[in-house]
Structure formats: C-alpha cells, structure tokens
C-alpha cells in the first residue's frame, strides 16, 4: 500500500536538488581552510585566514555595526509586529485587509525598489545616511518577517482564553501581559529570530542607505569581493555562513521545543 505513494524519480531529483543547495556551501567551507593564497588550489589545512579575519579592525567594526542594527531593528520590528497582530485580529474585515496589505508590502516590493525609495526619502528630508537610516530601513522589512510567525501562532490560539480573562475583570494591559504575551511568546521568538537573521543578511537595501561610517558586514564583504577574491573573503564568508546556520538551527530547535510543550499543554 505504501509503495503506491512512491513516485519514481522524485527521490533522485530531491537528492540532486539537495546536493545543488549544499555543494557551494561545502566548497566555501573547505576552501576557507586552505593555507595557500591562490584560493582554489588546495595545498594544506590552515586556519591562518580566520586569524586574519578576526584581527581585521575594519571587519570587526562592520560586524559591530551589523549586530547593533540587527538588534535595534529586531526589537522595534518585533514589538510593532506583536502589537499589530493583536490589533489586526480584532479589526473589522475591511481595515484588516488594508492593514495586512500594508504590513506585507515590504515583502511584496522588490528589495531594489525599497532601497531606491528609502534613499530618496532620506535625502529629501535631509537625514544624514548612517546607522540610524540603516536601522529604519531594516525595521521596515523586519516588521513583516516578525508579523507572519506571530500571526500564525495567534491563529492557533483559542480566543476564549483572552475573553475569559476579560470576563474575570482583567483590564486590557493585564490581559496582554498575563495571557496573550505568554501564549504568543513562541511565535514572537520565532518572528524575532527571522527578523534578526534577515537584518544580519541584508545587503541590497543597506548598500543604498548606509553612509560611509555605517558599513555592515555584507556591505563590507561586497567591497572586499569587488577589490579581489582573497582567502580572507573566503574565511569571512565562511564565518557568516556558520553563524547563520547556527542561528537557524537554534530557531528550529526553539520552535520544535515550544511545539512539544504546547502539545503537552493541550493534551
């Protein structure tokens, strides 16, 4: 019976697809440990390029900028998205559609268009390009990235819980802090993680709105690639790759953990 659900050939395509997805990642990781500086000819194992990366002051400054921007944009974006989720859930249908359309806009509009539009705005109102403009720009796309997981979590919750709290004379603030926030927290954590990862990884929008002193890690890497492909770029790219893989794995495990917990709670 089970064999009926096997479609011949699909396993091969899936295996090839997976190999295609991981081949460049593996190649990059391996080549970053090459001691030679000819980049693609393997001569022996060495971590010297990693040492070079971690003692490069410009790189460390760019990493610091990236972390500051990602932390701020994640905080603002997730807070705004959490509030928006509660507001939208209780709004009238027409308003709901309008606000949801607005919230989805940063994902719908191509990055390059958002980048141009934001650059024009900052120049028009006379904002000096710097870390603040990067944080604003990142908050724009962090809002939808945080919004969707939180909304998904809210959709799975029983509205009776919050209504019961209201019946028991909990005021809105208390209802939010004691009932809604704890119940939504796995969605909020997942949303914040996605917002953080996408902020750390963003290149195109940052490239447009970052001033000279606000170089983030991806913008810095792009500059290095432009100048020439050196083993140091390999090592730095490998570090970024490993960092994001680590973050995603944590997000995944957190998600699974909270799923299990809520299953227990329901059962």
């Amino acid at each position: 019976m089970k064999s009926l659900f096997r479609f011949p050939g699909t396993a091969t395509v899936a295996a090839l697809g997976l190999a295609f997805l991981y081949l460049p990642i593996l190649a990059l990781l391996i080549l970053s440990f090459n001691e030679n500086d000819l980049i693609t000819i393997w001569t022996g194992f060495s971590a010297r390029w990693y040492r070079a990366v971690f003692t490069n002051a410009d790189m460390l400054q760019a990493a610091r900028n990236s972390l500051i921007v990602a932390a701020c944009a994640t905080l603002f974006g997730t807070a705004a998205a959490t509030a928006a989720t509660l507001g939208v859930a209780r709004a009238r249908a027409a308003w709901k559609a309008a606000v949801e359309g607005l919230l989805g806009l940063p994902i719908l509009v191509p990055e390059i268009v958002t980048a141009v539009a934001l650059l024009l705005l900052f120049v028009f109102v006379g904002f000096e390009l710097g870390l603040l403009t990067v944080v604003i720009a990142h908050t724009v796309f962090c809002i939808p990235f945080a919004y969707y997981p939180i909304r998904a979590r809210l959709a799975g919750l029983d509205p009776a819980l919050s209504e019961a709290a209201a019946d028991l004379y909990a005021d809105p603030a208390r209802r939010f802090l004691r009932i809604e926030l704890p119940l939504l927290s796995p969605g909020i954590a997942a949303g914040a993680m996605l917002a953080f990862i996408s902020s750390l990884g963003d290149f195109v929008i940052t490239y447009f709105v970052a001033g000279p002193g606000a170089t983030t890690l991806p913008v810095y890497i792009f500059g290095m690639i432009r100048i020439g492909i050196t083993p140091e770029v390999n090592a730095l790219s490998a570090v970024m790759l490993l960092a994001s893989i680590l973050l995603i794995t944590i997000a995944f495990l957190l998600g699974r953990h909270s799923d299990k917990q809520s299953d227990k709670g329901n059962g």
Binding site: A27, L86, L194, I248
Partner: protein, 290 residues
Amino acid sequence: MRRRGLAPAAPAALFLLAFMVGPLLLMLYVSTLERGAFGGVVWDAHSLAAYEKLVFERDLVGRLALNPDYLAIFARSFQLAAITTTVTLAIGIPTALYMTMLPPRRAAQLLFLITVPFWTNLLVRNFAWILLLRNGGPIDGMLNRLGLVSGPIDILYTPFATGIGLVYSFLPYMILPIFVAMERIDRRLIEAAFDLGANRLRVLTRVVMPLAMPGIVAGGVLVFVPCLGAYVSPELLGGAKSMMIGNLIQAQFGASRNWPFGAALAMVLLVILLMGLGLLALAGRRRKSA
C-alpha cells in the same frame, strides 16, 4: 463583543506608511523630475525625460530615436526570471512531492535542510559560486580531468552563471510553498484515484497537481518577483553583458548619477510586478468562482 480595534496596529501601520508608502510616492514624484546638472535632482522642474530615456534617445539635434539598449536589459531580466522560474519548478515539484510522501519526521528533517540555505546570507551564497565556477576552480578542474572539456570553462561572468546564481538563490522559495500545498492534500483522494484504476501519471496530473496549484503559483510568484529585481547574482556572477534591471537601477545612483532615471526604472519595475500580481489574483478568483 469586546472590540479593542485597530489601535495596537497603529505603530507598525504608521511606520510603514512613513517609511514604505511615503518613499514609494516620493519615488514616483522624483521620476517626473529633471536631473540636476551635477547629479541629484531639481526639485521643482518637471519632465518626463526619465521615462522617455527608457525607450528613446535624443541625438545631437534633439530628434528622438528608438534606443533598444535599456529595453534589451528589461528583456534579458524577464528572460532570466522566466528561465529561473522554469528550472526551479522542474526541481521544486518533484522534490516537494518526494517530501510529501515521506514519513512526517523525515519530511521535517528534509524541510530543515532546505530552509537552511534559504536563511543564509545571499551575498555569501553567490560568492561561493564564484569559487566553484571560476577558471581553475573545482568544476573547471574536474571537467578537464575527466576530459569533458579541454581548456578553461569560461562560465563565470556570463548570463549562464547569473542563471545558476538565481536558481540557487531562489530554489527554496519554490520548494517550500509547493510542499505546504501538497502536504495539505487529503491522502484519501489519492488513494481513491488509485482504487479507481488511475496510474501514477494520471494521479499526478489529475489529482496531485491541480490540488497543489495554489502552492505552485505561490512558488512561481516568490521566485519570479525577486528574480526580476535581482541585483546580487548578476552583479557578482554575470559579466557586463548580463546586466539586469536591478544593476541598471543601482548604476543610476552610483556611477551614472541620474536619480530621476533610476526612480523611473524602479517605478516601471514595480508597476509591471503589481500588474502581473493583480492579473494573477484576478485569474485565481475567476478559477475559484468557476
């Protein structure tokens, strides 16, 4: 009925009005302005020169002549986006189907493996292809050793390399929505089709694919839209001859310093995409009501 109403959504909505809708309107306005003598724009001198420049060029005496250069870049972008969408569909549908038929635990593991590259840095992932594709790199070396080619492969800095980068960048965007749609299909429908004597091909074309169609359409949109505005893959992997709309737009804010033209290009890209999505939504609604 306790309606708390929209108030909590106000910060996010106002922020996006100020920093998403506002900037897009400003972009529309700038696209109708004249270019300043030293770059930038003249804020009160209006003209449609930016849109005109997309199709025509003015010769020395001011006559308009058709200029295919920019249209060619639009055509190439559409072509690369269409090819990328087709290739990701060809990989994505069988992969999603395979995952759907796995036991849930295995499917979740595979899903995780596909999601990881999706969340890793786009720039870094495209950079990795420079290492793989360059002459003297691993692929070049292997093909030469196997005797399949003699001499350098010369793939890097061509539209083909851009295509590889685009497929690589957006493949997870295709697999994920198709998988979600296929997973929702009621297994009993597939069993019933088999019971009624349909073979695998027929089950696939008459049951699985039609039911997975919303996911396939969503995947197509999620790949095609960002592909059309791609900047990173053509910039890193493509040569001068595979410039796409995204690179052309960026150039107006970099070396070319023609902001109204850059704004007009971004506007045209946005309008084309919104029209496409509108048509798709309309077609979807018609299918539902039919």
